[in-house]
């Protein structure tokens, strides 16, 4: 399947993380050109140099634990990830709207929609806040050819299972970054071997 990503310019924020690496490899494997600084300022500059087709924000690993045990400063820093995603929208959405094409993608933990066994209150809170933002933006940007989708991966697996989940996470991200996926927006796709969540 030709995803039409040859020469496509994509930003991958937090590509140095495990999931970020999987996403970057999948996009590069399809011929995309990558910018790896996901800050709002760098994204705006990258877009001025060469129009950005897709911005992928990969949530970095957040401190584990329940809220009762977390320091306030740790929580505050984690919540800044939501600001970072909003910053990407601010930096890129106007130009994407003007061009009538764009893809925003969030790659986060499956805990954003499922109560897994992991003690991961920050993953849940930050992840779900970003999902809310993504969904809201899917409605706002949809009329302008800009889609917003999320991929949630199960980081609780090990070995070959983990490798398969990371491969699927990267591939799904590449598919949703593709010009072929313009009718798909507001999605949350779990990559978890059917382990997490309810019927929906």
């Amino acid at each position: 399947m030709n995803l039409q990503l040859e020469g496509f310019h994509a930003i991958v924020a937090n590509a140095e993380t495990e999931a970020g690496g999987a996403v970057a490899r999948a996009l590069a494997g399809e011929g995309a050109r990558l910018s790896l600084d996901g800050s709002a300022e760098a994204a705006a500059a990258a877009d001025r140099r060469s129009p950005v087709g897709a911005a992928v924000f990969v949530l970095p690993p957040l401190p584990e634990g329940g809220f009762a045990s977390l320091e306030a400063e740790v929580v505050r820093q984690a919540l800044q990830q939501v600001d970072a995603v909003a910053g990407l929208f601010k930096a890129l959405a106007p130009a994407m709207q003007a061009r009538g094409f764009g893809r925003f993608l969030f790659v986060g933990p499956v805990e954003a929609k499922a109560m897994t066994a992991r003690s991961a209150d920050l993953d849940r809170t930050v992840g779900l806040a970003v999902l809310g933002l993504m969904k809201a933006m899917s409605g706002e940007l949809g009329p302008h050819g800009v889609t917003c989708n999320a991929i949630l991966w199960d980081s609780g697996r090990t070995g070959a299972e983990r490798s398969r989940i990371l491969t699927a996470t990267g591939a799904m991200t590449a598919y949703l970054a593709s010009p072929l996926s313009g009718f798909l927006t507001g999605l949350v796709v779990g990559v978890d071997d059917a382990r997490q969540g309810g019927v929906f």
Binding site: M1, N2, L3, G29, E30, A112, K113, L128, L131, G132, K135, S138, G139, L141, G142, P143, T147, A150, D154, E161, R164, I165, T167, A168, T169, G170, A171, M172, A174, Y175, L180, S181, G182, F183, L184, T185, G186, L187, V188, V189, G190, V191, D192, D193, A194, R195, G197, G198, V199, F200
Partner: protein
């Protein structure tokens, strides 16, 4: 992206038109062999000829009623004989009929719909999917690989109460729940199961439905459709290929960990966050 599907064999019920046909085209484009099943021989043969022109020697067409156990078994047996097994099963049997003169179940609101039509809708949507899954699972388990899809409706997740849709609003969630359960049960065998929620995709069936609705309500069909599209974030209808491509991708080796999902190919119509 090489999806790794060359030589895989698929069975698609309701494969002669719309999203079923588009799925067949997408899978053939990836090197699969495809058996399509549908009730009406003329439509089926026309679709088969179209697909055969795309992929000579890789298409099988079997006229069948996919709500009938013997017919389903016959389709799967024919596919196994021709292709050596079934790796991919796509359930795309339609539910309620649009033409009021046809045998039911019919499009309608709760107050318009006889109790007896619920049983028919369950037969169309749930029984047909269950029979197909039941027939293909043993072979998939034996090979340790399989992909199962239920082409459902967005109404499985969010009821459409603005149109006469009580039957799918009721039955589609049940079919989705069955496939979600199957996803867990079959995951240890390398088989993924996903619900594909469809929405305003410009198939002839959707046009026919809104033409009937316009006639029934005295509205203008173009105005009805325009309003329908205006409510979508993407402001336009999808194409059957949007569904076909998505299913082909989910069949891939790369997508082996994506299972138990309900993937909405609906132009952003559904409003829930997840």
């Amino acid at each position: 992206m090489d999806l790794g599907l060359t030589g895989r064999a698929a069975v698609i019920s309701g494969g002669s038109k719309g999203q079923g046909l588009a799925t067949a085209e997408a899978l053939l484009a990836e090197g699969c062999r495809v058996a399509i099943a549908a009730r009406t021989p003329e439509t089926l043969q026309a679709a088969a000829a179209q697909l055969e022109a795309q992929a000579p020697g890789r298409v099988l067409a079997v006229a069948a009623d996919m709500t009938d156990a013997a017919d389903v078994d016959r389709v799967v047996a024919a596919a196994c004989e021709r292709f050596g097994g079934v790796d991919i099963a796509v359930s795309n049997v339609i539910g309620h009929v649009i033409d009021p003169a046809s045998a039911g179940p019919h499009a309608g609101y709760f107050t318009d719909t006889p109790t007896s039509e619920y049983a028919v809708e369950f037969k169309q949507l749930l029984l047909s999917a269950w029979l197909l899954v039941r027939a293909v699972i043993p072979g998939m388990k034996a090979r340790g690989w399989g992909r199962i899809f239920n082409i459902a409706s967005g109404s499985a997740r969010e009821p459409q109460w603005e149109i006469p849709h009580i039957l799918p609003n009721t039955v589609r969630p049940a079919v989705a729940a069955m496939h979600r359960s199957l996803a867990v049960e079959l995951a240890p065998h390398g088989i993924t199961v996903n619900n594909m929620l469809t929405g305003p995709i410009a198939t002839q069936r959707m046009i026919d439905y809104f033409t009937w609705l316009a006639k029934d309500t005295g509205a203008d069909v173009d105005a009805l459709l325009a309003e329908r599209y205006r409510q979508l974030p993407v402001r336009r209808p999808g194409q059957p290929e949007d569904m076909g491509r998505m299913i082909a991708f989910l069949c891939s080796q790369q997508a082996a960990a994506i299972s138990g999902q309900s993937i909405a190919v609906v132009g952003g119509r559904l409003r829930h966050i997840y």
